[in-house]
Amino acid sequence: AGPLALARDLLAEDGEPFFVLNSDVICEFPFAALAHFHRQHGGEGSLVVTRVEEPAKYGVVVCEADTGRICRFVEKPRVFVSNKINAGLYIFNPGILQRIQLRPTSIEKEIFPAMAQDGQLYAMELQGFWMDIGQPKDFLTGMCMYLQALRAQHPEKLHSGPGVVGNVLVDPSARIGANCVIGPNVTIGAGVVVEDGVRIKRCTVLEGARIRSHSWLESCIVGWSCSVGQWVRMENVTVLGEDVIVNDELYLNGANVLPHKSITESVPEPRIIM
């Protein structure tokens, strides 16, 4: 929260409420609904909550059922308290900046509890999907959710054609070869080249990468400008950083590869390659 104090002059400029977002979160971002909700109750701040199956992994929010006013926060509760957690999406009045000093500050641990005590913080329940995409495994799950929502709302943006299965997003500048089967749940970035006979499932392929022929990828993140060789098999949340080269005919199982590495041997069990 400290950085908000740093931007104090910019934020308080026109006296209007401002949004704050955690960048490692994916959802449908209901900005209009949130702004409306915030003006209605007139409190200092509003945050979005979402329902999860395992709330103990997160910070849990306890609020009044009818008004949405937040009573208290419980961080990673050991017994079941509530199944609503902070979705990382907020809107505040500029007045909140009075509460924030220019030092490293945790908004959840220091600012919100005080605001809740003052009855100034309200929670709006999120509609639709939500995912914390800080970990590669969750990133891929979030990607699947996003594509599913896209299918419901803007199906024309998804890719279709021979060899495309399920929800697949392909940049117009990407090239996909013959006899490939792509999807479900694949996103392919700008300038990516996928050669003939490649099978990709549940992956993100970032800009400029090349996947050479006859390879098989499932649940992977392929970084920018990577080159994946022929007859490579990658699975189980293998993550390639920028500019990684994977030689032909290798098997990568849960490999986390740091940028600019060349992989010349198979990685049969999950590990980090530095």
Partner: protein, 421 residues
């Protein structure tokens, strides 16, 4: 001149399972032809070779009979199978059939173990035997191993000038010599006298013991422990040392290694047996054998060290390396097969990856031999060649790594480091 090839029986060669369930081990294809055909071809080339005898305790077997017929036609030399009534050891069989071996007045005969892969310098052994003068002497083919691995074989200490064997120990526990026994011998009829002495001794010992096994045990004679050890230092036994390639074929992994050695030999002596790169054909890297009836897509990439058997189909974009694909198997599009033996009539689905771990000898040590690894180590399966038994089905898009799949199994998911019953 005659040759006897010892082919063992079902109780032997158990390390070759599950491949030996379908076909007797001596008939398992290495570099495209049955293991024992390499022996027969080498023997048939020696001038004066009158007859080749296969000796073992397999029951009469259709595959064996068919093989004998086709081998006789191809090499134009009489080939017979002599069935031992029980496992008689490496010496007991030839002793039992000594009359057959010596019939027709053979003055010398080779004895070869079927489960070795070799350059078979038989002509050179013969010349060596003729040159050093003693027609009653016997010759063992020897080669050099490194100090550690020599302990796994028969060790030979020989006089540096005359090559006379002074000492012989089978699988010692301490270092004796790095010259090892290749399992290929040149004998004269006099050998039967020495084997007979062992037989007599066995009978005498048995007579002293109360044994319910009867006289069968007296007939079990091991050439190595019982005969060579005694003959060492007697002036009758010599070693002919070779630097040519040689390996035991005890496990499936060693079959792939032996294939590589023979395919390499083909590239020098019979290049027409190897596949060539040509227009409209698959990409061939290194030494590859493809049976004429196999059907290979032109976008497949095969080799090095690949043998493709009769009637095999290989689909588009398939990669096969360091592997043996047996008769009737089918590799669907985009599969990747590495360090694997694909069993007869097996199927590998699209984009599947079937991979094993080679157990090759250290390439930096010219005398290193392939290890016969134990199946398990520290409670875990040792990474080894992946073997698919006969009629195994591998579904699409899975990975099979370092696993052994028993015959007729239809898999439904990926497996790693497992034996699948």
């Amino acid at each position: 001149l005659k040759a006897v090839i010892l082919i063992g029986g079902p109780q032997k060669g158990t390390r070759f399972r599950p491949l030996s369930f379908e076909v007797p081990k001596p008939l398992f294809p290495v570099a495209g032809v049955p293991m024992v055909q390499h022996h027969i071809e080498a023997c048939a080339k020696v001038p004066g070779m009158k007859e080749i005898l296969l000796m073992g305790f397999y029951q009469p077997h259709e595959a064996l009979s068919r093989f004998l017929v086709s081998a006789q036609q191809e090499f134009k030399i009489p080939i017979r199978y002599l069935q031992e009534y029980a496992a008689l050891g490496t010496g007991g069989g030839i002793y039992h059939f000594r009359d057959q071996i010596l019939s027709g007045g053979a003055d010398a005969f080779f004895v070869l173990n079927a489960d070795v892969c070799s350059e078979f310098p038989l002509q050179e052994m013969l010349e060596f035997w003729q040159q050093h003068g003693d027609v009653q002497s016997f010759v063992i083919l020897g080669t050099t191993a490194n100090r550690t691995q020599a302990l796994n074989y028969g060790c030979i200490v020989a006089n540096a000038d005359t090559q006379e064997v002074q000492h012989y120990v089978e699988k010692p526990s301490t270092f004796v010599s790095e010259i090892i026994n290749c399992g290929i011998y040149l004998f004269t009829p006099a050998i039967f006298q020495h084997i007979g002495e062992v037989f007599q001794r066995n009978q005498q010992e048995l007579a002293l013991e109360e044994s319910s096994n009867g006289w069968q045990r007296a007939e079990v004679i091991r050439l190595e422990q019982d005969v060579f050890t005694a003959l060492a230092g007697s002036g009758k036994l010599y070693v002919y040392k070779t630097d040519g390639f040689w390996s035991q074929i005890k496990s499936a992994g060693s079959a792939i290694y032996a294939s590589r050695l023979y395919l390499n030999q083909y590239s020098k002596s019979h290049p027409e047996r190897l596949a060539q790169n040509k227009l409209g054909g698959p990409v061939i890297r290194g030494n590859v054998y493809i049976h004429p009836t196999a059907s290979i897509d032109s976008t497949a990439v095969l080799g090095p060290n690949v043998s493709i058997g009769e009637g095999v189909t290989v689909g588009a974009g398939v990669r096969v390396r360091e592997s043996i694909v047996l008769h009737g198997a089918s590799l669907h599009d985009h599969t990747c097969v590495l360090n694997t033996i694909v069993g007869w009539d097996s199927t590998i689905g699209r984009w599947a990856r079937v991979e094993g771990t080679p157990s090759d000898p250290n390439p930096n040590d010219p005398y290193a031999k392939i290890d016969s690894e134990t199946l398990f180590r520290d409670g875990r399966l040792t990474p080894s060649i992946t073997i698919l038994g006969c009629s195994v089905t591998i579904p699409a898009e899975v990975v099979i790594l370092n696993s052994i799949v028993l015959p007729h199994k239809e898999l439904s998911r990926s497996y790693k480091n497992q034996i699948i019953l």
